[in-house]
């Protein structure tokens, strides 16, 4: 009888632990694949300050003529502030604005050009990091035309409109700091890799 009670207690504890672990996994932020991703450590927006990101397809040899990009801006807690998916064509540049809703100068009435995207969120202070991942499921596959976001170039700034000043953003894993590896013996140059 005593053994049964102990067994039931242990089973109950195991069940609670299993539930706790499943809850942890359910709430976990999905991981990004290192070699296929680009990250920016910090962005910010509030009623005036906004963040601007330019994504360019420099048409380097080996790049596909169109590359699908998913850009996700997270807040400090890891919750998505806003995300968007878009395609960057050969020699084209897409402009992305992370901005508060109804910003006085950066809004849907003033930013109308094709290739410009507004990601408008809270008017309160918001900040966090940005991940850029490929739309293609095999961006660095065996084909010669890569749909790889790490072959794109990124530039950005946290802009303070009131003083026409700002701070350069950082992008990790794009063409700037990518590494080309050479496979031993085969003579194949593998594509750029993203975040190490």
């Amino acid at each position: 009888m005593k053994n049964k009670l102990i067994m039931r207690f242990l089973i109950s504890v195991a069940g609670i632990v299993a539930l706790a672990f499943s809850a942890v996994n359910a709430s976990a932020v999905s991981s990004v694949t290192n070699k296929q991703s680009v990250v920016s450590p910090f962005w910010q927006s509030d009623g005036s300050v906004y963040s601007f990101i330019a994504v360019s397809h420099s048409s380097l040899a080996g790049m596909n003529s169109e590359i699908g990009v998913t850009l996700n801006a997270f807040d400090q807690s890891g919750t998505s502030f806003k995300s968007t998916s878009f395609t960057v064509g050969q020699n084209a540049t897409t402009k992305v604005f992370l901005v508060s809703t109804n910003h006085s100068t950066i809004n849907s009435l003033t930013v109308t050009a094709s290739g410009s995207l507004l990601l408008a969120g809270t008017t309160n202070l918001a900040s966090g990091h940005v991940t850029i991942t490929p739309v293609a499921t095999s961006p660095q596959g065996t084909t010669s035309q890569l749909k790889d976001v790490t072959t794109l170039t990124f530039w950005g700034s946290i802009v303070i409109p009131g003083t026409n000043t700002g701070f350069a953003m950082e992008f990790i894993g794009d063409t700037h700091d990518s590494i080309f590896a050479v496979t031993t013996g085969a003579g194949i140059t593998t594509p750029a890799v993203g975040v190490n």
């Binding site: 976990a28 932020v29 990004v32 070699k35 450590p41 910090f42 990091h129 700091d177 031993t184 013996g185």
Partner: protein, 205 residues
């Protein structure tokens, strides 16, 4: 004879103490990221750092670290915290009683202050991973996923800010995910090729 032995042993002990002290001061490169320069002036210039865990596939779901400001007189302030996947911490290095950058004006669970003296201070910033062997992948335990817990799994950005003009200067970070590739060059004598496998990274190379 005994006196000589005592003197020799005393000298050896003194050397041992001196060398152990020097080793204690040495920074373990595998656990370290650093920023060469920060600045904080009375009531004006301050330094801001954003530290993000971008949830890389290679990373454990939490990474513990200590951030220390190192001035001309050594470590002058530090704070330790754990950053979880997807989170971003904001760290302000600022003079005490700053009029706009203080714990009353800027609040939040992921906001940290390294408040220094009221006088001007400058120096470098040292980031130390809590994990003593960051190149060894941690196993999943206690709700933390498996993965590496080195600082090369984090992304750090910052600026020395001049509030009076809303301008500033970008800070530099060495040893975070940006520039921490650990590359093993392997020369194959037969084919003449060099293989460059990208390893997990390990702080400052």
């Amino acid at each position: 004879m005994n006196k000589t032995r005592i003197i020799v042993m005393t000298i050896l002990l003194a050397f041992a103490v001196v060398f152990s002290a020097q080793n204690a001061m040495a920074v373990d490169k595998s656990r370290t990221a650093l920023s060469p320069y920060f600045q904080s002036d009375t009531g004006s210039t301050y330094s801001f750092m954003g530290i993000a865990h971008p949830s890389l596939l290679s990373a454990a779901s939490t990474v513990g670290l200590t951030v220390s400001t190192v001035g001309q007189a050594g470590v002058v302030g530090s704070t330790a915290f754990t950053i979880a996947a997807g989170e971003t911490y904001r760290v302000f290095i600022v003079s005490t009683n700053h009029s706009t950058i203080n714990s009353k004006a800027i609040t939040g669970a992921k906001v940290l202050f390294l408040s220094l003296t009221t006088s001007s201070t400058s120096g470098s910033v040292l980031f130390t991973a809590s994990k003593t062997e960051p190149a060894t992948k941690s196993a999943a335990a206690g709700g933390v996923s498996d993965g590496f817990q080195g600082l090369n799994q984090l992304a750090i950005w910052g600026a020395v800010v001049i509030p009076g003009t809303s301008s500033g200067f970008a800070m530099e970070f060495i040893g975070d995910s940006h520039d921490s590739n650990a590359v093993n060059l392997v020369f194959d004598g037969g084919s003449g090729q060099i293989s460059v496998p990208i390893a997990s990274g390990r702080g400052i190379d």
